[in-house]
Symmetry: C2
Subunit: 275 residues, 2 copies
């Protein structure tokens, strides 16, 4: 049965679409204008604005889709500049109210729209199981005892923050919380570790500290599993981190082979754990 | 009775010293080299390195001091480059172990050293009560309902983070966590709000969002009360925030009159609350 992929920005939507298609499943892409890249042209698709849920529902129904999946980065629109269809006008007040409550509330609300219209919301894990992080090290390098202690601390931070819908990532180095993610996103969070004094953190020559990315307890694995890829490994390497830990079964790794190779080349570990 | 002020960096140590002296109390300053500014010359003082607790204890005893207070920013030293006296050599392993557990653990450990030697650790609130934040607005502007909701959320974030010894500050704008402080410090945290897309945050023309700074639950009011001053108001103003909230009775405001005047001039509120 065909998969309806409502695709935002970033690498993940394309990885999901290709992974599902490679598994023999037809994919129909609802490409969110200004966010979803040009790769959508390689699939049956419809490009819409965030204010056109009516068009999205119609296109998905016409494509014979029952299962839908919202994936990728969705930027909060300037509601005043949004192109709206009839359905969009109807749901806009709910969308604005949800956006006030945080990104997760907004995503849940959008998924709810499709469920109300009779679609089934599926998770990335279901649509593209090959992307899900497995337990253990992905490359040749494994965390040591001190890294494991930092991982435990960083998971506790992400969990505490996540319960308040703040962010998905934190970095800890030998007991010191180096950085915590909020609205700036994981990439900007990693980058600023490089601006800390170098006695607080590691360097590419002497790696120290761990990046942890994990699902917020308020998040639904259907909409916003944390994701890492080759670029995450490169950024972590640049600021001297020793490795990256994600939750096995509840995180996604885009391009596992490439991630493993890059981690080995740069001297980092990438590990899936069950914290 | 004379006050022994172990002074690190920033504006706070000088404000405490001047406030105590203005109240008629003699002050002896132990100036931490490389951190405490030249203002210490205006007081009886001794300049030492972090590795010389023996010299500090001796100087304080010679000055007839019983009450001590460690205040200001203390940077984690490169332990390998530290100038050590005999006492410093003895306590170094404990200091390094404490430093691994976080900034608060390090401060508590240093205060413990003085307590073991028979000194009494006093709080800034006790030594300089005029600096403590009081309930209510400091200037003419007060927070509205939406600001109060953001304040509640930001206090919850700081409390959750603080329990994990992460940071003291967070900024929330209409339900969205803009930024959360870790090792980079409050100034850098505020500055990066200005790099967020401007539909997520306020601007100097249309102020939105609140900065909250509060004591970590793991922190001891004797060593690390959160502090704001004129510079904090200016930085918050620059990135479009609507105001600053601190915990009344558990935070310090350096230069209250100047802070109120600057907040009024720039159009921000500065408020002490009992969350």
């Amino acid at each position: 049965m065909s998969l309806g992929l409502i695709a935002g920005g970033g690498e993940l939507p394309r990885a999901v679409a290709e992974s599902a298609r490679a598994a023999g499943r037809p994919v129909f892409v609802v490409a969110l204008g200004g966010m979803c890249g040009g790769w959508a042209e390689e699939f049956p698709h419809e490009r819409i604005s965030l204010g056109e849920p009516g068009r999205a529902l119609k296109a998905l129904a016409a494509a014979g889709t029952k299962d839908v999946l919202l994936v990728g980065k969705v930027e909060r629109p300037k509601f005043s500049e949004l192109k709206l269809d009839a359905k969009g006008v109807m749901v806009l007040p709910k969308v604005i109210a949800a956006a006030r409550r945080g990104d997760d509330a907004l995503l849940r609300m959008l998924v709810g729209l499709f469920e109300e219209a009779g679609f089934r919301a599926v998770s990335v894990a279901e649509a593209a199981p090959g992307l899900v992080a497995e337990p253990g090290s992905l490359g040749r390098i494994s965390p040591d005892e001190s890294h494991r202690a930092d991982m435990t601390q960083a998971f506790a931070i992400v969990r505490a923050l996540g319960a308040l819908d703040v962010g998905q990532a934190a970095a800890v180095c030998e007991g010191l919380a180096l950085a915590v993610e909020a609205a700036e996103g994981t990439d900007a969070m990693i980058a600023r570790i490089g601006q800390l004094r170098d006695n607080l953190r590691g360097t590419p020559e002497k790696r120290r500290g761990v990046l942890v990315k994990a699902l917020k307890p308020t998040q639904d694995a259907k909409t916003d599993m944390p994701v890492i890829g080759v670029e995450t490994v490169r950024r972590a390497a640049e600021v001297g981190l020793a490795g990256i830990a994600v939750e096995a079964g509840k995180s996604l790794i885009v391009g596992k082979n490439a991630v493993a190779a890059e981690a080995d080349r740069l001297g980092l570990f990438v590990v899936g754990v069950s914290p």
